[in-house]
């Protein structure tokens, strides 16, 4: 694997919060079995980037076409956001927010010096990040149990978001 080059770093600096990249994501369940490498490159969302003295830390959240189990903290990506993110419009796609890979810009073995292949809108991604914060503030098991995967239409899903945020 290549280390991230300066050009890759610059791409992330321009699009720090909602970019979609490809990354050899290692699932939490696979890491728990002792696996050290992601089985394939998959789309991931750049969720959060925080400045660190030895290189900025970035959290990546996985995007999958496999429907997550209902107790996962995951959101189906609506059609318009799939287009923005460069995802195929003909398949159901979810972003999973209850696990992540973190990596360090400039020291990663996995980040490639490629530009992002799309971006989510802030209107879509910010409520998800806020919900993640709210869930983490709450007693976790109860909060996650309340947050079943939403399989509704985009309009109804956003209504559910607003209700959840109130």
């Amino acid at each position: 694997m290549l280390r991230t080059t300066r050009s890759g770093d610059e791409c992330l600096r321009r699009h720090p919060d909602r970019s979609r990249l490809r990354y050899s994501y290692l699932w939490h369940r696979e890491a728990g079995k002792g696996e050290r490498e992601g089985r394939k490159e998959r789309p991931i969302a750049v969720g959060v980037r925080t400045a660190r003295a030895d290189g900025d830390l970035v959290l990546f959240f996985p995007i999958t076409t496999k429907q997550p189990e209902r107790d996962r903290f995951a959101f189906e990506i609506p059609a318009i956001e799939k287009r923005r993110a460069g995802l195929g419009a003909d398949r159901h796609v979810w972003i999973v927010m209850d696990e992540f890979n973190s990596d360090v810009i400039g020291h990663s073995f996995y980040l490639e010096p490629e530009p992002p292949i799309g971006r989510f809108s802030k209107a879509f991604f910010l409520p998800i990040l806020r919900k993640l914060i709210a869930v983490n503030r709450s007693p976790k098991s109860a909060a996650i149990a309340e947050t079943a995967i939403l399989h509704l239409s985009p309009l109804k899903r956003h209504q559910s978001f607003r209700q959840a945020m109130c």
Binding site: D17, D98, N101, H107, L132, K140
Partner: protein
Amino acid sequence: MKGADARAIGSIDTMSDALFADMERAVEQYAEDDEVGR
């Protein structure tokens, strides 16, 4: 010389308080940022 793998695997249940605080700050800043030009 190649350094150590910096990647870590985490979950919402195991996120440290420090990382959570960093994430909160980043999300707040993201919320305040202007969409134009991003």
